[in-house]
């Protein structure tokens, strides 16, 4: 890493730190139906109108089952909406290239992919999807899947916190004036899904996107409905330049940690990421809300030190990952030439490459550091946008994004998903600490019992089973192996990366894998559904379970959930569980490839 790389890294970390508190405070207002923001004069009427059209009362609190059902119903409606658009693309407007409707398996994969906030690209951007599909079918989920994720995280935080409204007593027969205690219905509530969805979309995502979109156009990003431009190049060749309404889609792609590219090359495409400055702000947008949510957590549970301790654990993992990735991509043994017997081969090649690092699959305007940092950011969060081709990374450089996804994307993480994923680890960390000192574990005064630990473990084990199970299946199947672009251990990495990415709802890829086949599209689609909903349902059950618990005041045996000890314990828990689950598979992929590359092994 050069001095300028360290400077960029410092600027990035500084900017992220600075926006965490203001965003957290803003989230506090957005996630409270009675909250106030400076946008109220403009947006309040729209918000009220929306509730009226939906026929919902934003102040009517839901228990965990109602909240989850609302979220599931909304996801179902959205996936049908987008599936229909993709299938019917050929007859819908804004399709100057006359692109036909998508095949059923590709439409299924893509609709699920965007609904689950994954944005895996089996589709090819400019060559497959019309402007209408992009702007309506896909952008819709970019906004709403992000808002729904934030809602789920907020619901869990509300459950953990000691809100008064967690506890509602309602007498079903109150109207007859004889409230019989045995007839009292007690509900433990977590907020209202529709209010969270609408308020996050209107007050948080849309305003930032408007400003961000204008900035991106100023950097050179396109925003038009022109047909693709045909040009005759300076040397007289034909070139067709893809166009489209890109600048309205990219801000939410980043801010909502969606990551689905407008173009096939995603954020590596010069239109989609024109300058180093646009690159910097796109990276910042990916982590912004996730970082702010940790501050929101601190405020809600009235323990700001806890919020910062969780944030610190995330940042330690993040810095470690970014430096590792950047080190290997700037690396010394990249593309080392194999010594041949008749050695007329140039010998200084290695020396030169030592200076430049691994530039295969990278853009010159970002260099190896801008690409490595982006790769770390996009997989620390569940974004999945890429500004370089991860498939061409060095083995360890590629292991970093892969392992970050396998850890559950809890390093800042996807909007909402990162926080609720990390809180699962917090529960486990507190549980492990409790076992070590021999006390009943409690989290912020609420006892952690068998039910909570079971739910936390369930959410983790389902993800592990999906990643390893599907990868194993693909490994031993013709349909799995035929899609590979690289042979040897790198081929295994391609499959492992695909199922880690989809299960983790990330969406980045070792893109050499030809995944647009019925088998891959379908299995990857199911991995995305498992990764989204079999995570959310246990998490919401956990939220409901916490909401029903009375917090006890901290005693001498309480394990503090702030400070360095807690942060280290949390990091240890995340790494330990991740390593235990995935080291064997990683050893057969990137790790063995790393040692083979050192010996000049080629496949």
């Amino acid at each position: 890493m050069h001095a300028t790389d360290w400077l960029q890294f410092a600027l990035f970390l500084g900017a992220l730190t600075l926006i965490t508190k203001p965003l957290g405070l803003y989230l506090l207002q957005v996630l409270d139906p009675a909250g106030r923001t400076w946008l109220d004069p403009v947006l309040k009427p729209l918000e009220k109108l929306t509730y009226k059209l939906l026929g919902v009362d934003p102040r009517r609190e839901q228990d965990w089952k109602q909240y989850t059902c609302a979220m599931l119903a909304f996801s179902l409606a959205g996936v049908v909406f987008t599936y229909a658009i993709l299938r019917l693309q050929g007859v819908l407007p804004f399709n100057p290239q006359g692109l036909p409707g998508l095949s059923h398996h590709l439409a299924f994969n893509t609709a699920v992919s965007f609904m689950t906030n994954t944005n895996w690209q089996s589709y090819g951007g400019e060559s497959t999807v019309s402007y209408f599909s992009q702007m309506v079918g896909l952008t819709f989920h970019n906004f709403t899947s992000a808002a729904a994720g934030i809602g789920i995280a907020a619901a869990l935080v509300r459950g953990i916190s000691n809100r008064k409204t967690n506890f509602q007593v309602r007498s079903p027969n109150a109207h007859d004036g004889s409230p019989n205690p045995t007839n009292l219905e007690v509900r433990f509530t977590l907020g209202n899904f529709w209010a969270d969805l609408v308020r996050c979309t209107y007050y948080l995502l849309l305003p930032i996107c408007v400003v961000f979109a204008i900035f991106l156009v100023s950097q050179g990003m396109i925003q038009n409905f022109d047909p693709y431009t045909k040009v005759k190049t300076l040397e007289g060749a034909e070139q067709v330049i893809a166009q489209g309404p890109m600048a309205s889609q990219i801000p939410i792609k980043m801010l909502g940690t969606n990551g689905g590219g407008f173009m096939n090359a995603n954020a590596a495409h010069p239109f989609e990421n024109p300058t180093p400055l646009s690159n910097f702000f796109q990276m910042l947008a990916i982590l912004a809300i996730g970082s702010g949510l940790t501050y929101y957590l601190g405020r809600m549970v009235k323990n700001q030190a806890h919020g910062w301790a969780v944030w610190a654990a995330m940042m330690v993992l993040f810095v470690g990952a970014a430096v590792t990735c950047a080190h290997f991509e700037a690396g010394e043994r990249v593309f080392q030439l194999v010594p041949e017997t008749a050695t007329t081969e140039p010998t200084s090649l290695e020396t030169r490459f030592t200076l430049d690092g691994n530039m295969e699959g990278k853009e010159t305007r970002f260099g190896t550091f801008g690409s490595s940092l982006f790769a770390t950011v996009t997989t620390a969060a569940s974004c999945g946008a890429v500004n370089a081709m991860h498939d061409s990374f060095t083995p360890i450089g590629g292991l970093v994004p892969l392992f970050l996804m396998q850890l559950g994307e809890v390093v800042i993480g996807g909007v909402g998903a990162g926080l609720y994923g990390m809180l699962v680890f917090v529960v486990l960390a507190v549980f492990i600490a409790g076992l070590m000192v021999g006390r009943t574990p409690e989290y912020l005064g609420k006892k952690i019992q068998a039910k909570e630990v079971k739910l936390a473990m369930l959410s983790l084990l389902v993800l592990t089973a999906s990643i390893l199970g599907f990868t194993a299946w693909a490994c031993v199947s013709d349909w799995g192996v035929v899609g590979l672009n690289n042979a040897g251990p790198h081929g295994l990495s391609e499959m492992l990366y695909a199922y880690s990415s989809t299960t983790g709802n990330n969406g980045s890829a070792f893109a050499g894998l030809t995944a647009n086949t019925p088998w891959y599209n379908t299995t990857l689609g199911f991995a995305m559904l498992i990764g989204r909903f079999l995570m959310i349902v246990p998490v919401m059950a956990l939220a409901g379970s916490f909401a029903a618990k009375q917090a006890a005041p901290a005693g001498p045996g309480t394990f503090p959930v702030h400070g360095a000890t807690f942060t280290i314990l949390l990091i240890g828990t995340v790494l330990l569980i991740g390593a235990l689950n995935f080291l064997p598979a990683l050893a057969l992929g990137p790790i063995v490839e790393h040692f083979l590359m050192g010996k000049g092994g080629l496949f």
Binding site: Q8, V217, N224, D356, G370, P489
Partner: protein, 198 residues
């Protein structure tokens, strides 16, 4: 299950209402602002050539093979610099195919630029970019091509290096890079009086 069904009604309505706002009003607002403030950029930063036709985009790389032009990076987009089919090679570090391709490109680069058989070659000159449309090359790469372009065009190497410097984009957030299409346009412009292009 009953709750799920009762929630379907607001779910469908929310899909319609939020789609109208986020996929209708919002993109149209952005389009309107973009066209008012940054019309040229919103349409792809297109460049018009000397004879009045559009010859490309300042942001999109295009292929150059003639000896009197600076050459861009190898491209894996379509059959090379296909701006309707972006993408990288996605070949990994232990790929025999990539290894062979790079070795071949190194030899070709040294030959065409008159470099010694063991001269160092900048990595960007022999590796394909992520988008296949990288409009830039590294400053070192442009520098090594300067002598060739100057010789073929009867220009002084200093003049060509001046043009490289004029088309170098600098940022504290990334490496300094040279825009290939722009520098080639400049080279054509200054060399036209001496040797008019057909």
């Amino acid at each position: 299950m009953k709750t799920l069904i009762t929630e379907l009604r607001p779910a469908i309505l929310a899909t319609v209402v939020l789609a109208a706002v986020t996929c209708g009003a919002y993109p149209l607002l952005i389009t309107a602002i973009a066209h008012t403030v940054f019309k040229d950029k919103a349409h792809g930063s297109l460049i018009t050539g000397p004879n009045g036709t559009v010859i490309g985009s300042a942001l999109i790389g295009q292929n150059f093979t003639a000896e009197n032009h600076f050459h861009p990076r190898p491209s894996a987009a379509g059959s090379g610099y296909d701006a309707a089919s972006s993408g990288g090679s996605n070949l990994g570090p232990t790929s025999q195919k990539l290894h062979d391709a790079i070795r071949e490109r190194i030899t070709a680069y040294r030959t065409i630029n008159g470099l010694a058989a063991d001269a160092p070659v900048p990595a960007d000159a022999v590796t394909a970019s992520a988008s296949g449309l990288d409009p830039h090359i590294s400053v070192a790469n442009a520098g090594l091509q300067a002598a060739r372009v100057a010789k073929v065009r009867n220009l002084s190497v200093e003049k060509v290096k001046e043009l490289i410097a004029a088309n170098t984009e600098r940022s504290i957030l990334g490496p300094s890079v040279v825009n290939v299409l722009k520098v080639n346009l400049d080279v054509e412009r200054v060399s036209q009086p001496v040797s008019p292009m057909p």
